[in-house]
Amino acid sequence: LPHLSFFRETMGIMQHHDAVTGTEKQKVAYDYARRLNVALRACGSNTKDILNHLTSGETPQTGIPDTKKHDYKFEFKTCDLLNISSCLISETSDRFILTLYNPLAHSTFEYVRVPVSTLDYIVKDYRDVTLETEILPIPETIQNITFRNSRAKYELIFLASELPPFGYKSYYIMKTNKHRLEPIPDADNL
């Protein structure tokens, strides 16, 4: 609850007219960014706990364990730098899991873009189905941003389909030994 309250208080501050329009002083802007970052990280531990409950087969509301309950605990981290195509876990791990939570009240699908450092990845869903993927280069203009400290040169793209309303789906992504060709642009480039 203290984590949620800190986020609630931060969102209250964010409704000040200067925060909404961006007419706050620069040092206040830094403070807003700091508060939001702290609030997101604090609530990250809440979402991690909830997702670990759900994935272990335990129902969080009742605490009644399912017969399929297991002891695996995962981190469920958010990547704040996805907006500059950077994520420490996806660009350094040979195997990682991507969990997508759909906050909409209807089923949806999404083309997911995951920053990666090499070309050779496969994506599997929970039914042991290997999904169709595509790898495209991250534009050099983004790779060359001064403060972007990332190994990711490519984005791995796949279609996450039938994401349930207010529900989640996870994908297992791993490096393979299969050699994949570098994406080549069309010959008729200008």
């Binding site: 200067d18 007419t23 706050e24 002083k25 620069q26 802007a29 979402t47 997702l51 695996y72 995962f74 981190e75 469920f76 981290k77 958010t78 990547c79 907006n83 876990i89 996806s90 791990s93 195997r95 990682f96 899991i97 991507l98 969990t99 997508l100 939570y101 759909n102 906050p103 909409l104 949806t108 999404e110 083309y111 997911v112 599997k124 929970y126 042991d128 169709e132 595509e134 495209l136 280069p137 534009p139 203009t141 983004i142 941003i145 001064t146 403060f147 793209i157 796949f158 279609l159 996450a160 994401l163 996870s170 297992y172 791993m174 994406p183 642009p185 069309d186 008729d188 480039n189 200008l190």
Partner: protein
Amino acid sequence: SSFVSIGNEKIRLTFDTNGFLSAITTKEMTRIVNQEFLYYEGAIGNNREFRNRSSGAYIFRPKTDNVKLVTTGPKIKVYRGNLVEEVHQIFNEWISQVVRVYRKHGYAEFEWMVGPIPIDDGVGKEIITRFNSDIQSEGIFYTDSNGREMLKRLRDHRDTWRVKLLEHTAGNYYPITTKIALEDENARLAILTDRAQGGSSMGDGSLELMIHRRLLHDDAFGVDESLNETAFGQGLVARGTHYLILGNSQLDQSPTTQLLERFTQLEKLLPTWKFFSDATNSSYDDWR
């Protein structure tokens, strides 16, 4: 033969020999649509006079109504795959863009990146992206209010008084929370944003959105700082996305275009939450 196109069976974008978007084809129509990046120069005023303030954090006040061109021909690369087709455009050292169409989507994505805006010439700049089409909108366009009701706007007009705009550009700018659109009897063009921006329709068939600003003077409305943000000693770089939807207009009694706009709006403003877990110590079977 040098024209390049990307798309799927629902929407296809054509780029001309100069590397600019030139036309969009849907199932129902082909329309001339081009897109370019431009900028307004920020006004430098005398803040002691109310009518002569600088462009700044509170007010958008260009020096003149004339926009400046960023480039006459972007460099482009085209990537085609099974899931997505992309055109990577480089306009200059500080503006680039990826235009993409996914296989199952009926809209196009424009992922722009702008910055650091150069100020070596001592001029503050306000960067816009502008889509020009052959839609006969007759000065009418629509902007939203907090993602809810769409409000009808008419250029150089106010509903409840007779207006004479002394600042033609700024006086026609409106807040865009998520959507700006225009239409004629046959076609409707809508741009969805991923964040609140300023926007307008400065000519028939034209939609523009302000995506980044860097200004060198305070506008004297209270903040007492110029809007000149830096990080690591450089001006900020902004990256974001616009979603373009073209289809039949509502005048055509077809709700399909606006349905697509609404669903796309929901999916883009409430995207999935992404959680990453390192699985170095878990095999696929363990995880399953």
